[in-house]
């Protein structure tokens, strides 16, 4: 192969250089025209909520690729709010100053409330991925929407699922004890339980509600107290670390209830829980919103999660990942419809959301006048073979529920 040097003139070299520059610059020009929505995702990646916060973070990491496949374009800024509402507040200010057009977060209600105040002042929409405190949508914020049930909704939907569970398994519990963490989330659940349980029509009596310190070294005293009351069911609102302590002490004290059920709280389906307890982690039930295995969005999300996060199981993380993804999807969808990232316009589009295809089980995502999605149903998820498995409602279930749970003895 030879090169004809005679063809290289000064003009042709200049023209070639110019053409090359245009070609090299093209992606940048294309990027500028793409108009991605810049979203700051604030999560507790460190601090006492880090375990769940990092799970949500993994959801945020895999979301852009999935959203892109569905025709949405987002640019994410990942921020650690350190499980600290004050940090959440200052980091939100900083994110907005640096150009964030929308905020998603923040798993923790206290942190989310701090973010909401800043978003309201700066007129930047906040989409709550996870956060159950009722006041988030009861304080009249104009720049907030929440695609997550309130504590009351979680309890109500959870209790409804427990009734379905009793019907499906034909057990006859007479008494239950409600054990909950003494934190924002736990107290919201307690309030919901106190208000809703008396009218829920369940066939058992709630003999006592016990609040525990989530920072306690162990739950032996709490379990001794429960053992003294000898209830048929133990209803729990825990985080993963507390759930481990609880089951460990229940087994040590040889207490055998019919079932341990969470009426809408995390803890019983975390990888940490399975690793710590092995076969003793099985048969506990969470009545909680869950990812819809039959949704094409969930399937795409799961495929991308497996690709990007091979060290983690989507089955364990789909609650955090699914709700975080759906929050980002809601933002991207509103941006697409609004055609602008201006706060008030984007907020208007958010309030008009009607999104049928999403990750979590439930009807299309819509928000009421307060910015709350009031149609987020729960499902029953039972640990089977150390994997959270949907056992109710029947149309999305992959196994049938088992109650009373098998005895502890013989499982280890």
């Amino acid at each position: 192969m030879s090169i004809d040097h005679r063809k290289f003139s000064r003009r042709s070299v200049l023209a070639g250089t110019a053409a090359g520059a245009v070609l090299l610059g093209a992606p940048a020009i294309v990027r500028a025209q793409a108009k991605a929505l810049k979203i700051a995702v604030l999560l507790p990646q460190s601090g006492y909520l880090a375990q769940a916060g990092q799970s949500c973070h993994r959801g945020a990491l895999v979301s852009p690729a999935v959203l892109s496949n569905f025709g949405f374009n987002v640019e994410l800024i990942h921020i650690d709010m350190e499980s600290n509402p004050d940090v959440a507040r200052t980091q939100t200010e900083r994110a907005i100053n640096e150009g964030a057009q929308c905020i998603v977060g923040a798993f923790d209600s206290a942190g989310t409330l701090a973010i909401a105040q800043v978003c309201e002042q700066r007129q930047v929409p906040l989409i709550v991925n996870i956060g159950a405190a009722p006041q988030l949508t009861e304080q009249g914020y104009k720049f907030l929407v929440r695609n997550f049930p309130t504590g009351g909704m979680l309890v109500k939907n959870g209790l409804t699922q427990i009734q379905h569970l009793i019907d499906a398994t034909k057990i006859a519990p007479k008494t239950a004890v409600f054990l909950h963490a003494n934190d924002n989330f736990g107290l919201a659940q307690r309030k919901g339980m106190d208000a809703i349980f008396p009218t829920a029509g369940l066939p058992f009596k709630l003999v006592e509600s016990i609040a525990y310190d989530p920072k306690a070294q162990d739950l032996s005293v709490e379990v001794t107290k429960i053992r003294g009351l000898n209830p048929d069911l133990v209803l729990v609102v825990t985080r993963a670390a507390d759930a481990i302590k609880l089951i460990r002490d229940i087994v040590r004290q040889k207490f055998q209830p019919m079932g341990i059920i969470s009426p809408g709280a995390p803890g019983l389906y975390d990888e940490e829980f399975y690793k710590a307890l092995g076969p003793l982690a099985d048969y506990h039930i969470d009545a909680i919103p869950w990812a819809n295995p039959k949704s094409k969005v969930t399937q795409a999300l799961e495929a991308e999660f497996k690709k990007q996060q091979p060290k983690f199981r989507f089955a364990n993380e789909c609650f955090n990942v699914g709700f975080t993804f759906d929050a980002l999807l809601v933002a991207a969808d509103a941006f697409k419809r609004a055609g602008t990232a201006t706060g008030p316009e984007l907020m208007k589009a958010l309030m008009a959301t009607d999104l049928a295809d999403h990750a979590m089980i439930g009807p299309p995502i819509k928000f009421d006048a307060k910015g709350q999605n009031v149609n987020i149903p729960s499902s029953c998820v039972q640990n089977r073979g150390q994997t959270p498995t949907v056992v109710l409602p029947a149309d999305v279930a992959t196994m049938t529920p088992v109650l009373p749970m098998p005895p502890w003895q013989g499982r280890t």
Binding site: S46, G47, Y48, A50, Q51, Q54, N182, I210, A211, Y212, D213, K215, A216, Q217, D218, L219, S220, V221, E222, T224, K225, R227, G228, A240, A241, I244, K245, R248, D249, V251, R252, Q253, K254, E271, E272, K275, A276, G278, L280, W408, T412
Partner: protein
């Protein structure tokens, strides 16, 4: 007294003994060097992770791993004192405070970076076993941990009482100038004392790992717990640390059972305030 109340008290005593061993390290260091180790809880958590690693990698049970961990922590303590703490001896208390709080921050973030936020459990074959004595159920791990804590505390008492080094350390604690005048190598003895304090932390961390799962989030709670115990028992009093630990263990257990578990800590602090008001030097401390 009902059987269930007795069960609660026994569990409280057993947990309190391990708490006491953890606080013992803090008390020894303060009693001799007058340095308050604000990284105490963080170092306890590091010991818990060490026990976790030895169990995962070498299948060494924490009750056995306690010995190498305590030895390693003695070495770490010795070096820490010689390199980092020693220049701050005799300097203003706030300078010591900043140094040790800085050390605590580095440790806890290092642990978070290496192990992540998840709790790391040690699943022993007998983790879920308990002794049934009549109507009482007593956790096997708690009994073993309490017995080991008592053994370590006894070994420390014997060391201070019957060895030349122990006697020399006590001399430094009683009269620093006098100890220096008679030719004791105070710097060396301080380093040994800090090493012994951390050896207690290492042993306590190993035992704690059988009761609670290792997690970076425990650090501050442990520091606060150790402080509460040694203030109640008497800063610098070894017996006081064990008595304080048992008192905290039992009062928390009873308050949790009879009032509300979420209010357990409130009773620890109420006990602390009562002791500070009625006997500021602590139950077994000497009047300052």
């Amino acid at each position: 007294m009902t059987a269930i109340t007795l069960n609660v008290i026994v569990q409280g005593v057993l947990t309190g003994l391990v708490y006491g061993l953890m606080a013992l390290g803090l008390s020894v260091i303060f009693g001799v060097m007058r340095v308050v180790n604000f990284a105490h809880g963080e170092l306890t958590v590091v010991a818990m992770y060490a026990a976790f690693l030895l169990f995962e990698m070498l299948h060494l049970e924490p009750l056995i791993a306690l010995l190498p961990i305590a030895a390693a922590f003695f070495g770490i303590g010795y070096l820490l004192q010689r390199t980092l703490i020693s220049p701050f001896i005799g300097r203003a208390e706030h300078e010591q405070f900043i140094l040790l709080v800085g050390l605590a921050t580095v440790i806890v973030n290092g642990v978070l970076l290496i192990f992540g936020p998840d709790a790391r459990p040690i699943n022993l074959p007998y983790s879920f076993d308990s002794y049934a004595i009549g109507p009482l159920f007593i956790d096997k791990v708690r009994v073993l941990a309490a017995v080991a804590a008592l053994a370590v505390a006894a070994a420390l008492f014997l060391f201070f009482r019957y060895t030349r080094t122990g006697t020399a350390i006590r001399a430094c604690a009683d009269n620093l100038t006098g100890a220096a005048v008679v030719g004791l190598n105070v710097k060396q003895l301080y380093a040994v004392t800090f090493g012994l304090g951390l050896a207690c932390v290492g042993a306590a961390g190993s035992l704690m790992a059988t009761i609670a799962d290792a997690s970076p989030g425990l650090s501050q709670a442990y520091t606060l717990l150790a402080f509460t115990i040694v203030i109640i028992g008497g800063l610098g009093s070894m017996m006081g640390a064990l008595v304080g630990g048992i008192l905290i263990g039992v009062s928390e257990a009873l308050a949790g059972f009879y009032i509300q578990p979420s209010m357990k800590s409130m009773f620890s602090f109420a006990l602390l305030i009562i002791v500070l008001v009625l006997r500021p030097q602590g139950l077994m401390g000497r009047r300052l």
